[in-house]
């Protein structure tokens, strides 16, 4: 009896699974939350007849194990730089066929492909989707001196007024840059010094935050905060007292890119989707919705809002990102080492 039931159950699931996959053209996308204009998906489905199945994750780290262990099968993912690097190293991605990506070749800026080489040598696996920097947002009414260096986050005048990012790489990047080192540093002595600086800074820090940073700065809860450029734009719009600066020591130039997984079942559809995202009229829709800078060189001309068009944060001049570093994957062991350094700052 039991065996019969199991068999029946198996048959039923097989029939249902069959329905979903074969009758309709589909593409499975795994993306950051709120990382697309929902209207764009509707247009894509209408134009191509390909049904998009959309899932979301909140950090690179939570996405990785789900994909790596093969628990779920997605065709397209949009991870950040160092995570793309990690996925390439662990053989989870397949090379893209650029003959099917006409829009990507035409409209994605050369600078961004060049920067992507840091994590995707030869640009074989990824097409940039969004990019940005990390900087300091500050309250002009509370911070009187010019903000041009990360060292202001160690200024005792602002004790209890500083918000830091709660993530190992982003936290350690700051002292490393002050010391004039690379944000991909692997020398353990240098990393220990960086950790020491963060421990020293801890009494001055109000909180280590991730997404809450926006809310807190809009409500003027702090005078200084470390934020991503896309978030900065949103905060500036909501609170006119704020200003954004990129420290002179250099910062992280991050890129999120579209990739296709190794075990993708819908490779053609996935290419169609990625190329669709690079089409200027679609890219401008996404840009207006997200506020993150786009590598698409046609978007600025299509942007209708003059204020956004001339905003140096939305469309920074190339000097802002030209000589900046991008995170690289440092290997599993080094990853763990970074995480432990950071945990120890937090338990200290």
């Amino acid at each position: 009896m039991k065996k019969f039931l199991m068999l029946a159950l198996l048959l039923v699931t097989m029939i249902f699974a069959g329905c979903g996959d074969k009758d309709k053209e589909v593409v499975y996308v795994y993306s950051w939350g709120d990382y697309i204009d929902p209207e764009v998906l509707k247009i894509f489905e209408k134009e191509t007849g390909i049904h998009v199945i959309w899932d979301e994750y909140d950090t690179n780290e939570s996405m990785y194990p789900r994909v790596a262990e093969g628990a779920v099968h997605y065709d397209i993912i949009v991870p950040s730089d160092y995570m793309i690097n990690k996925m390439i190293d662990n053989d989870l991605l397949q090379p893209l066929d650029f003959t099917k990506l006409e829009n990507a070749k035409k409209y994605i800026g050369e600078d961004f492909f060049k920067q992507s080489e840091a994590f995707d040598p030869g640009n074989k696996y990824s097409v940039p989707y969004c990019w940005g920097t990390v900087g300091i947002i500050y309250d002009k009414t509370k911070v009187t001196e010019p903000v041009d260096s990360w060292t202001i986050l160690w200024n005792e005048k602002y004790a209890g007024q500083i918000l830091m990012q709660d993530s190992a790489r982003d936290a350690l990047m700051i002292p490393l840059k002050i010391m004039g080192k690379s944000m991909n540093e692997t020398d353990k002595d240098v990393l220990a010094q960086a950790q020491e600086m963060l421990k020293k800074q801890k009494p001055l820090v109000q909180a280590y935050v991730i997404d809450e940073v926006k809310e807190k700065l809009i409500n003027s809860e702090a005078a200084l905060g470390v934020v991503f450029s896309g978030e900065a734009l949103n905060i500036l719009n909501a609170n006119p007292n704020m200003a954004f600066a990129i420290p002179k020591e250099g910062t992280n130039f991050w890129i999120d890119g579209w990739v296709i997984t190794k075990d993708s079942q819908n490779v053609d559809n996935a290419h169609k989707f990625i190329d669709f995202m690079c089409r200027p009229d679609i890219a401008v829709k996404n840009f207006d919705c997200l506020g993150y800078s786009t590598p698409n060189i046609a978007v600025r001309d299509l942007e209708e809002d003059e204020e956004v068009k001339n905003s140096p944060i939305a469309f920074p001049s190339p000097e802002v990102y030209k000589d900046q570093e991008t995170y690289k994957y440092l290997g599993n062991q080094m990853d763990e080492y970074y995480n432990n350094l950071w945990m120890q700052v937090k338990v200290d």
Partner: protein, 274 residues
């Protein structure tokens, strides 16, 4: 009388439930906790608690949970005493008052405390309005204790209230007739008789306070890590199940110690009565 067979049948659903969702996960946690990545038996991950300063987090958790439990106890006793002395037909309203905070999602009410305690929060705005000095309470140990007391007070009040209502009024009257002062009545009669309620209240407050990670994450600003936060980060962020499970096992030891201690007091007290 239900015969043995029927009893077994009635018990089966729970046994299956307990086996699948309590016993097996427990075995898994212990198994992960005492093995390393290659599946070899090892106490290395448990030993990490001494190396990485996680011991401080555990100490802080125990300390804050202890403070919260004491505050809950000190707040609940007078409250319950006053309530039981009032008319008993008020009890529906009263128990409603106890249960009301539990109707709200605890995550939501903890987030509300965030806005109350913030630098530009409700309390400080009031202080400013009255011309009083403001203070920074959010992201401190104090804020976490406030969150714990708020969330877990009902779990102290309920068992205590029930224990106190069960005390026979005639015993109290007899004490008064025989000349005992109210303090003597409290120490000699009310306290011993309500101790089982207090003991279960202490357990019900101390254990969730010891293991919480939500309250400390929201009110501690990521600067104060309790052992619960470290376990959570080991699983979600570091993706290290072995360390996470090893720490969980250590935490379990403390929970079992706490329960042994409370049942010991419970029993010792029960024996004293006879």
């Amino acid at each position: 009388m239900i015969n043995i067979n029927a009893r077994n049948i009635l018990l089966t659903p729970f046994l299956i439930w307990a086996g699948l969702f309590i016993f097996i996960p427990l075995v898994c946690i212990v198994w992960y906790g005492i093995t390393d990545y290659d599946g070899n038996f090892s106490f290395k991950n448990m030993g990490l608690i001494f190396e990485r300063g996680y011991l401080d987090a555990l100490k802080l958790s125990i300390w804050l949970a202890l403070i919260s439990t004491v505050i809950c106890l000190l707040m609940a006793y007078p409250l319950c005493l006053i309530l039981t002395e009032r008319q008993r037909n008020n009890s529906t309203i009263i128990s409603l008052l106890f249960i009301l905070p539990l109707w709200m999602n605890s995550l939501l009410s903890t987030m509300a405390w965030q806005t109350i305690l913030e630098g530009n929060g409700i309390i400080n705005q009031l202080m400013r309005l009255l011309g009083l000095p403001t203070f920074q309470m959010i992201n401190t140990e104090g804020a976490i204790v406030v969150g714990m007391v708020y969330n877990y007070l009902p779990y102290m009040v309920l068992p205590l209230y029930i224990a106190l209502t069960k005390i026979d009024r005639r015993i109290l009257e007899a004490a008064q007739d025989l000349g005992a002062s109210s303090w003597q009545t409290f120490v000699k009669i009310i306290l011993p008789l309500s101790l089982p309620g207090a003991v279960s209240g202490i357990t019900m407050v101390f254990i969730p306070a010891l293991t919480t990670f939500v309250i400390s994450a929201l009110l501690g600003g990521g600067k104060l890590l309790l052992i619960g936060n470290i376990i959570e980060q080991e699983f979600t962020f570091q993706y290290d199940w072995h360390v996470g499970c090893a720490l969980s096992v250590i935490l379990m030891i403390f929970i079992i110690l706490n329960m042994l201690l409370t049942t010991y007091f419970d029993k010792a007290d029960a024996e004293e009565d006879f």
